[in-house]
């Protein structure tokens, strides 16, 4: 393990940015670990939530933003609901994800690809087109679909449509995405 030189690596602007975007005060965290204790995803995290919180407090920007944990959080709200200091931890995780995206980190590419495919589906059709989403995801990840066994279960029951949904307002939804992209470029 490397030695963390706090004087050199402490990034105060990072801490401030997280606080600003999340509306949370990082110093309220006293590291009791309740978030980690309740988090159903701790078993797949590389850094448990409380350590993510600690790393943010310590201004360790890079370590935080490259963490896989950010991409494996499902926003189930256990941490937020049980935090003794009323910190909205799930909100902080979301904000860190936004920052990681902006800085180009994607340590769990499958998750990012899935989310991206989902949103492109919404952007394109106004609603999710599930088969289209799967096709796009498989194309992005280049992975063989691990759920082939599910096809026979779903398809005969009419639970997936082969045609994308048609809604009149889909241009309106596209505009939301377009404006968002414009705004983020500003």
């Amino acid at each position: 393990m490397e030695i963390v030189n706090i004087t050199k690596s402490y990034d105060s602007s990072f801490v401030k940015q997280v606080e600003k975007e999340s509306g949370q005060n990082m110093s309220h965290c006293y590291q009791c670990g309740n978030c980690t204790a309740g988090c159903p995803y701790t078993f797949v995290y590389d850094q448990p939530v409380n350590q993510i919180m600690r790393l943010v407090q310590a201004g360790q920007k890079e370590t935080v933003l490259k963490s896989k944990s950010l991409w494996l959080c499902a926003t189930c709200e256990s941490c937020t609901t049980r935090c003794p200091n009323n910190i909205d931890v799930a909100h902080i995780m979301d904000v860190l994800r936004h920052m990681a995206r902006r800085e180009g980190y994607a340590p769990v590419p499958t998750v990012k690809s899935f989310w991206d495919s989902f949103l492109s589906s919404v952007e394109k059709h106004g609603r999710v087109f599930e088969i289209g989403l799967l096709a796009s995801y498989i194309a992005k990840t280049g992975r063989f679909w691990t759920d082939v066994d599910l096809g026979p279960k779903v398809l005969p029951k009419g639970k997936m449509h082969f045609k994308p949904p048609q809604i009149q307002g889909k241009e309106e939804v596209q505009k939301i995405f377009n404006r968002f992209k414009e705004e983020s470029r500003k």
């Binding site: 309220h28 006293y30 590291q31 009791c32 670990g33 309740n34 978030c35 980690t36 204790a37 309740g38 988090c39 701790t42 078993f43 850094q47 448990p48 409380n50 350590q51 256990s78 049980r82 935090c83 003794p84 200091n85 009323n86």
Partner: protein
Amino acid sequence: MKIGVFVCHCGTNIEGTVDTAAVAAASREFPGVVFATDTMYACSEPGQDGIIEAIKEHKLDGVVVASCTPRMHEPTFRRTLERAGLNRYLFEMANIREHVSWIGKDREANTNKSADLVRMAAAKLLKNRPLFSKQFPVNKSVMVVGGGVAGIQAALDCANGGLKVVLVEKDTTIGGKMAKLDKTFPTVDCSSCVLGPLMVDVAQHPNINLHAYSEIEEVNGYVGNFEIKVKKKASYVDWDACTGCGLCVEKCPSRKATDFFNEKLATTKAINIPFPQAIPKKAKIDPDFCMKIQKDKCGVCAKVCPSEAIDFTQKDEFITENVGAVVAATGFDLFDWTVYGQYGGGKYPDVITSLQYERMLSASGPSEGHIKRPSDGKEPKNVVFIQCVGSRDKSVGRPYCSGFCCMYTAKQTILTKDHIPDSQSHVFYMDIRSPGKLYDEFTRRAMEEYGANYIRGRVSMIYPKGDNLVVRGADTLMGAQVEIDADLVVLAVGAEASVGATDLAKKLRISYDAYGFFMEGHPKLKPVETNTAGVYLAGACQGPKDIPASVAQGSAAASKVLGLFSQDMLASDPQVSVVDIKRCIGCGKCIQTCPFGAIKEIDFRGMKKADVIETICQGCGICTSTCPQGAVQLQHFTDNQILAEVNAICRF
């Protein structure tokens, strides 16, 4: 008037953000000021000597000290003036620490504000007049409210000091929380062996009059002469006749009454004596469970009582006690942990409180000292202790540390190992707080000798799995989520202000904090005093405290009472209202609004006039702001004095 102004540096406390020399220089221009200087520590011996010298040298007859809050050192400096031969009321303080230097760093603004405050103080001082106290007699008896260990200690110390003591306890027995404990830390000696003899002393002391199962109804009067109405709650047993033989308890057929003494771990009889060593050892009927009272059936207790003490028609009784001082020692209650849904919210029988665990450990408890799971009576092997339940938790409105939970949890792990040698204790903690004599060593022993497994982290949830409970927590040191299959979970529930504490505070006219704990006179210098003369505090009613601290406070409060009563006469505060008889038109508005009945109507040469009874007047000044012609003036806070302050800073 020749005024001297002394501007204190308070080390760097004030000087750090206030230019005290500039304040002194500005002060020299204020009306009446003939001398002004800055001084390092005005309250220190050289500081006070400096004031005395200046008074003599410059023939000062009024002094302004600009320093800390008058709530801190006003009495100190008033004594300084007296030593210099001046009347103590020819003194004013400008609070330039709490109200200036500590709340902002803008040196220019602070210096300017400090000068303003000195100007106001000097302007008021110009209107000050010498005031002289009256003497009034003291009733040298004391009421102690609450019969826990702090109240017992206070009562015994006062009684041994020769005072008459009235001890009021709301339960049927004294002993408080300590009587429920099995053993005490860090000595692991038996709680009742320590407390029992003290309780007996209370019962036998000729100077102590004990009212158990009683509460304070109403408080009137003032230091030296309180008149307190006490409600003796109906016990349905004539306690003068009851011998505590227990025959009624034995024969009572109603077995489902709530056992408060055993923290509801078991049930008890409708007529009961909480525990064998109870003081007084008297029976009480719980009317909710008594078949005679509920359905007019049974009445067995009355039939078997050898002293015919049972009285089903008994009513609450009110008595009045006259005392000169009051010690509030009302202790604490446990936080209601059932707000934690993630710990089952009370649904899982094998999740219990630390105090319930004490009753389980106690040989006089419902399981006679055997640790048994409430669900199935089995002996647990894996016991999980969770600390900080209702402490240091903002989300449930309890951000403070309860102080003693770390220690009793360590004790309970030790006792668990003693009772069940093949058991394993696990303790979830955030920090271990053990700053007492032999305390930290004690927690180390729990780990090193008794093998308690300390896990640094909170518990997020408890859920049942089969016969057991899964405790899911974090080990933040390991950086992992951990799960323990527990047989029993003990919650180290935090302390909160006792039920009814704020009601009592209102009756006693003392302050309390946001959590209902009583406010001490000063956090450091007046730990057992309150801001109401003659009312003192002991024990956990002021904030969570362990036994040694509670006992120390009991003794401290007693020493304050004994000190107060060391004189036969008390000096009244001369800051009372005075009627200018010429200006009074006898309209009686002041009489109507005085909360204390301190103003009476007199006949003055055939005319109605108001007159203030000095020893009753408490100095609130409601009369002064009521009287249209300003005929009644509160001394030291007269209209002219307040107007002088206004005029000093509002200069058009």
